[in-house]
Amino acid sequence: MKRAARLIVFYAGLFGLWTLLAQLKIWPPYLFPTPWGVGEALYAGFQDHSFLIAIAVSMRRVLIGYAISVVLGMILGLGVGSSKFLEETVGGLLVSLQSLPSICWWPLALLWFGLSQNAILFVVIMGSLLSVTLAMEDGRKQMPKIYGMAGRNLGASGLQLFWYVLLPASLPFIVSGLKQGWAFAWRSLITAEMLYLSLGLGQVLMMGRDLNDMSAVIAVMILIIAIGYVVDGVVFKSMESRLQRRWGLTSST
């Protein structure tokens, strides 16, 4: 209860400050909109379906890109995590590549895939693949060795061992990596969409700038934050807590 009260006070204060600054009219309204201006933009955006379409398009892209990088990342990560040679060579390369902002792949993607969906997907994949791979590699190493041995002992080998033992055994250790991968995928997507105007939330955002409609810009920013937060807080949180309950890692049991 106390925490909720603190949060309400904080956001009410923030809202008040925003209203105050907007009312003082230090900056013109098209540069610094009022909260209700943003509210109206949100309403209008949903009213003419442009936001809904943008969300659907963006979600589709990020889901495809993220799914591909999770699958690839798991294979790569397990490979790197189970071989000393690959760890030293590929593993080192991956760590150094991680310092590269994913949008740096954009020019390359344009040349390879042209101005298309695939170019955006490529950037999204490059954005999240590395963190999924590194998380998987780390999970493979952190995972107690006993599970792999027990699995082999009970007759599992090859793909069976991977699918039924190594993957589930390393899940608690890679959830945070999957989460980070999602955050990277989402950011990369929005960035790429801002550069390539083909629907999506990133484009709507740029459109707001082009039309000097700061209310719309902030409305879309709020949407982007909200979607990222919901996926992180709802999807991954529930996955995490379910895993912890199953594994008996919570103190409540």
């Binding site: 006993i146 599970y147 041995m149 027990a150 699995g151 082999r152 002992n153 009970l154 007759g155 599992a156 080998s157 069976q160 039924y164 033992v165 589930p168 055994a169 899940l171 199953r246 594994w247 008996g248 049991t253």
Partner: protein, 318 residues
């Protein structure tokens, strides 16, 4: 080359050298022993269920030294026999089980099952790990049927056998629980059911009851003995508790500390069921304890790197 014979003390009972030929009645060359320790019972077949010949295992330590962990281990286990292996910690008895399970590979020597060389893991021999290795992401029932699932056995048959084996270890009502919801003794029984469900010929148990309280352990001793009698499996059971070994085993093999060798083998021919408190069990344990104590003192010496020999009490109930 060192031989087991070097380690044999002069006094009785005379040790069984594994390399002495097996007589037609199954006993070995020099095993006419007095006391509670009797000659082995007859074998049914010439080929032992598990045959270890001249197993050596060495590895390189972090400092680059070559460590000899197992030194010419020779052991034969008959089908249906309950063999206990005792030895101080660090003598390589767990490693030996891993070799039989095919999870590691020996430097030299052969592991034979029914006369066939072991190449890797196989469901004809299942190891119950000291730390169990139950899968926390699966329910008790799914843990038990894991091995069957890997074998490609149909779901209906799996379900039926899972029910059977869970009943065998008295865990029927916990089929849908997760392993962390169970007590230590119950988890132990899940591991036993999981191992039995793959229907192995040989059950390898690595100090399975070491972490349990005395009451639970007594209970599990009874259950294991019952299940062994019911299923007729060959069991190789590693422990550091001599009384437990006498309580359960048809035979007890004593291993030395670094390098691990089979120092002596003691046939146990006490009537079953036995209990840990039986005076006959205590007497039989006494003889082995004397020799085990030497090994433990040696291991402590190495560990503390001092000349003093603390006379430790081993095998006593905690």
């Amino acid at each position: 080359m060192s031989t087991n014979a070097q380690n044999f003390p002069a006094q009785l009972p005379i040790p069984i050298d594994p390399r002495t030929p097996v007589r037609a009645d199954g006993s070995r060359g020099k095993t006419g022993l007095a006391t509670a320790l009797h000659p082995m019972r007859g074998v049914t077949s010439d080929v032992p269920k598990v045959g270890l010949t001249d197993i050596c295992l060495s590895y390189r330590t972090e400092t680059g030294e070559r460590m000899l962990a197992l030194d010419h281990i020779n052991l034969q286990v008959k089908a249906g026999e309950f063999l206990c292996i005792v030895g101080p910690s660090g003598c390589g008895k767990s490693t030996l089980l891993h070799l039989i399970a095919g999870l590691h590979h020996q430097t030299s020597g052969e592991v034979l099952i029914d006369g066939h060389q072991v190449e890797g893991p196989g469901t004809d021999r299942i190891l119950i790990f000291q730390e169990l290795g139950l899968f926390p992401w699966l329910t008790v029932g799914d843990n038990v049927q894991f091995g069957m699932k890997m074998k490609g056995i149909s779901k209906a048959e799996r379900e039926e056998k899972t029910r059977y084996y869970l009943r065998l270890v008295h865990l029927s009502q916990f089929k849908d629980s997760y392993t962390h919801q169970l007590s230590g003794g119950m988890r132990q029984r899940v591991a036993l059911a999981r191992a039995l469900a793959t229907e192995p010929d040989v059950l390898l148990m690595d100090e399975p009851f070491a972490a349990l309280d005395a009451q639970t352990r007594d209970l599990l001793h009874d259950e294991l003995e019952r299940i062994w009698a019911e299923t007729g499996r060959t069991i190789i059971f590693v422990t550091h508790n001599v009384r437990e070994a006498i309580r359960l085993g048809d035979r007890v093999a004593l291993m030395t500390f670094r390098p691990g060798r089979v120092k002596r083998e003691f046939p146990v021919d006490l009537p079953r069921p036995r209990t840990l408190e039986d005076p006959t069990v205590a007497r039989a344990a006494g003889e082995i304890l004397g020799e085990l104590r030497e090994e433990i003192n040696r291991s402590l010496e190495v560990e503390y790197n001092v000349g003093a020999k603390p006379n430790v009490e081993v095998g006593a109930e905690r």
